[in-house]
């Protein structure tokens, strides 16, 4: 069963959430397809077992099978490109007096 609304028009890597009531069905999918996964399987609020999977749109049918729900939750390539826009340019620490500072609040004594 699939809840994927539409295929991606390009080679973008999509973020999918794959769930099943049957842990063995999910294990079999991961074993047979060996998809790129994020994190580990978690028990969902509804008792199903779920895991994030990353793949291109044309590979989604390989994941779809009886007892497994595939839901598109994002476009990882798109998110990555947005993050690429947040990568520094040049070298912010090139000046002699430029030193990194951490994010902790510095607490008196």
């Amino acid at each position: 069963m699939s809840a994927v609304p539409h295929a991606s028009p390009d080679d973008d890597i999509l973020r999918l959430h794959v769930t099943s009531e049957d842990p063995e069905a999910l294990r079999a999918l991961l074993r047979e397809n060996r998809p790129d996964v994020g994190g580990r399987p978690h028990v969902e609020a509804d008792g199903r077992i779920g895991i994030d999977v990353y793949t291109t749109a044309d590979r989604i049918p390989d994941l779809e099978r009886e007892g497994v729900t595939v839901t598109r939750t994002g476009n990882a390539s798109e998110a990555g490109r947005a993050a690429q826009a947040e990568v520094g340019s040049g070298d912010r620490f090139a000046p002699d007096d430029a030193v990194p500072h951490g994010l902790a609040t510095k607490l008196a004594g």
């Binding site: 994190g39 690429q84 947040e86 040049g90 912010r92 951490g102 994010l103 510095k106």
Partner: protein
């Protein structure tokens, strides 16, 4: 400060060394990457007449897990600034006193090696954001955009590297002999890659390393040894060096094989992992979970298991408990969220280091 590019990770480390010469030692790793980049690590600690126990923390192993580098750079910066100015550190609801900070750097050397895989990070930050491996072109037939470029560095260490022999055929460890596997190709041989040889070299140079932490993403977990099978503390002969158990490893809950870990080591590992989680939780309430690496999925050739296994292969090396942090819930959080994650994980790491006492 948004994400650091690869030049900035290195210059951040070197600038910290320059700014805090009394508390740091800059280490140049011996092997450049395939694209010619040289990496650095930073030893942080008060000068001492005799060598001190050491916590070695590495990051930037998997190219797409960018924030790992920032976590370690910010941690180093926080500790150094707090020590110099005699302050404590506050990460949300987790706080450390000035005495705890100075005590930490008095008792331990903290070694921060934030960017193990600079070529991969650069490729992920400029071309394919989801890239994971290094950029070794040996198997790519001259095509730099091929999926066949690169090795998964966290499968390239010398721990059960020959997984086909070591594991039960039904175990399905997350590792591959296929050079064109986009994610988990282990490489042609253990330590085939300059990046993993650099980590091995650093462990060799720091014989008082007792704790090793590899920072990854994602799943909000902290993993401790082992990653190849369930743990057991009953039968010392049932261990990764015993070929009698080849073909039996990697199945959960079976009686055929579980990996031996002395009970005192597992107890110590659990306490440290729980300390990390406590530090994280205090910041903004997130619940990271301690578990063995095997509970994530069966693996071979990982850094944490290699670090711990060295002490079994050669007892003269001493024990190094190995940990892997899996921060966050996505590979590329927007920078505003990444800052929150940095606070979470840095609080956890300080708490972890304090718990080594």
């Amino acid at each position: 400060m948004p994400y650091l590019n690869v030049t900035e990770v290195e210059s951040a480390v070197t600038s910290l060394a320059t700014a805090y010469p009394d508390l740091t030692q800059l280490v140049t790793l011996p092997e450049p990457s395939f694209e010619g980049r040289t990496a650095h690590a930073l030893v942080i600690g008060e000068p001492a007449a005799t060598p001190k126990p050491c916590v070695l923390m590495i990051g930037g192993v998997h190219a797409r897990e960018w924030g790992s580098c920032e976590i370690l750079v910010h941690l180093a910066a926080d500790l150094l600034e707090a020590h110099r100015n005699g302050t404590g550190l506050g990460y949300g609801g987790t706080a450390f006193t000035a005495g705890q900070v100075s005590g930490l750097l008095h008792r331990l050397d903290l070694v921060v090696y934030p960017l193990v895989n600079p070529d991969g990070r650069n490729y992920s930050q400029t071309v394919r954001p989801m890239w994971r491996k290094n950029r070794n072109p040996a198997n790519a037939g001259g095509n730099p955009d091929s999926d066949c470029v690169g090795v998964d560095l966290n499968r390239n260490y010398d721990f059960l590297f020959d997984f086909v022999t070591a594991f039960d055929p039904k175990a399905d460890p997350q590792v591959s002999t296929d050079p064109c596997d986009q994610q988990v190709y282990a490489g042609p041989s253990p330590f085939s890659e300059p990046e993993t040889r650099n980590v091995q070299w650093l462990l060799d140079q720091l014989p008082l390393t007792r704790w090793f932490v590899d920072v990854h993403s994602y799943s909000q977990d902290v993993l401790y040894n082992w990653g190849d099978d369930d743990n057991q503390s009953v039968d010392p002969d049932m261990n990764f060096r015993n070929s009698a158990y080849d073909g039996k490893r990697g199945l959960p809950g079976d009686l055929a094989y579980s990996e031996y870990i002395p009970k005192e080591d597992e107890d110590a590992a659990v306490l440290l992992a729980e300390a990390f989680c406590k530090g994280v939780n205090g910041v903004r309430g997130l619940s990271y979970k301690p578990m063995t690496g095997f509970h994530l999925y069966p693996t071979s050739g990982t850094s944490d298991d290699y670090a711990y296994s060295r002490g079994f292969a050669d007892p003269d090396l001493g024990k190094v408990l190995g940990f892997t942090i899996e921060w966050g819930t996505e590979f590329h959080p927007r920078w505003a969220e990444m800052e929150e994650i940095i606070r979470d994980v840095d609080a956890g790491l300080v708490q972890f280091c304090l718990a080594t006492a």
